[in-house]
Amino acid sequence: METIKKKRTGPVIFSEYKRGDAIKKALSMTREDILFELKDSKLKGRGGAGFPTSTKWMLTAAAKADKKFLVCNADEGEPGTFKDRVLLMEFPELVFDGMVVGGYTIGAQKGIVYLRGEYEYLLKPLEDYLEVMRKDNLLGKNILGKEDFNFDIEIFLGSGAYVCGEETALIESLEGHRGEPRNRPPYPINTGYLGRPTSVNNVETLAAVSHIVIRGGIWFAKFGSDKSTGSKLFSVSGDCEKPGVYELPWGIKISELLKIVEAKNTKAVQIGGASGHCVPKSQFNRTLAYEDVPTGGSIMVFNESRDMLHVLKNFMEFFVDESCGQCTPCRIGNVKLLEGVEMIEKGEFTFAHINKLKDLGRTMQLASKCGLGQSSPNPFISILENFNDEIFNAGNGGRNGK
């Protein structure tokens, strides 16, 4: 891979960190103390769902079992997201140290990194890195002399399935099955990998843990807003001068972010990837935070020249491709929504039918088994509603007058 390493700086994740420090500090603390620090930090899962990390780890720690697992979810498949690639490539120490801290806290003996197949080129450097950690006793038996703390990390390669980013689908595929999501509950914290308590955490969450252990939860909570503490890595792509990964505090306005990445003539921003929401210009004063527009970090910028119906079609094709096919609302619903987009494209639609499809979308949001089908109607509904003038009224009912 022919990329140049940039010198990155930021308030939290990209601030200075020395390899192994978080492990040393954590092993001098009790498990309860680490959980209290996490609670103070109010850290929420960075994958997008935003479940409090301290609660997840507390429940996994409290579960009784002969074995427990910690899984690092590096199946970053959401279109427009690439922060985990940057973290794993340039800051593996943060992620792996966070995993060891997590293993210690919940009482797991084994950590598994579920690396998406598309990032196969990261496998070798990461395995080499783990080997160095083993030599320095940051992994293995009695880590850093701490008796009875044994923890090792294994990397598991995915094979190109977006749905495996969903934690139960991920576990299914780890167990050698088709990556089809399970019903929840039971949650993985009780019945996870091989039926054992398993905590599945996003790459960025684990990286944040390393910093929290060193500098404390109160320090972390100073950044961002009251409900969305700390900072967030935003993966910015699309029509802007400076695409890339940015670390910014939560609560930043969309318009401020657009200024930073030097986006001009922006018409719309897709926030949260294909399954997120499309925000039109009139709402650029909204803030990126769990309490306003939540996101796993994907920001795609569209300028005035872009055809929003084309964007929507690309998203719906993605979901038709990636639906696992297990539950009916998602398997058939996405195909119907895509057909609707194609009807609009050809100018062969009725408003009655499109409105029915919007209803179908809302049904999918309620009735689908996992997050994929629950969120795939989001772009359909938000793009058709926010850009109805462009799509339906600009020409004679055709698209954009074309």
Binding site: R116, G160, E175, H177, M300
Partner: protein, 157 residues
């Protein structure tokens, strides 16, 4: 398939099972390695994996058919995947694909007659800030132009 080839494949799969362990959890890693080396997982390979892991062959097939990066039908020696998701699309994916199709004389999804290349679309490669992106086997290439993409194909053996 000749008997000697079959034996070689059996031995190879046996060593993979030894490496990853003969339990169901090793299935995806074993399939991944076979796929990497042979560019597909033949029916015979599926049966061998099933036998050694003590599961039904159809279980192996069901996993293969689920994942985009695993296939049971043979493909070209080199796999070219062009990212089709929106960020790469906006940065000129279709120009890239047209140039590749012209140069190789095939349509996307097809394999060249000499079996050298199979060209496919893939969903987001996670390189949205440096698109349009394309993968040749396990290597990725960024910020491509149609000309550069074709040049890269020329360098592949």
């Amino acid at each position: 398939m000749f008997v000697a080839e079959k034996n070689a494949l059996s031995e190879e799969i046996e060593s993979l099972v030894n490496k990853y362990g003969n339990n169901r959890s090793s299935l995806l890693m074993i399939l991944h390695e076979i796929q990497q080396k042979h560019r597909h997982i033949s029916e015979f390979a599926q049966q061998e994996v099933a036998r050694l892991l003590n599961i039904h062959p159809v279980e192996v097939y069901s996993v293969i058919s689920f994942f985009a990066f695993l296939n049971s039908n043979p493909k070209g020696r080199n796999l070219v995947r062009v990212c089709q998701t929106i960020s790469c699309d906006m940065q000129g994916k279709s120009g890239l694909v047209k140039a590749i199709e012209r140069e190789l004389g095939i349509k996307i999804g097809e394999t060249t007659k000499d079996n050298k290349f199979t060209v496919e679309y893939t969903n987001c490669l996670g390189l949205c800030d440096m698109g349009p992106a394309m993968a040749i086997n396990d290597q990725v290439f960024l910020q491509l132009t149609p000309e550069k993409a074709v040049e890269l194909l020329g360098k592949v053996k």
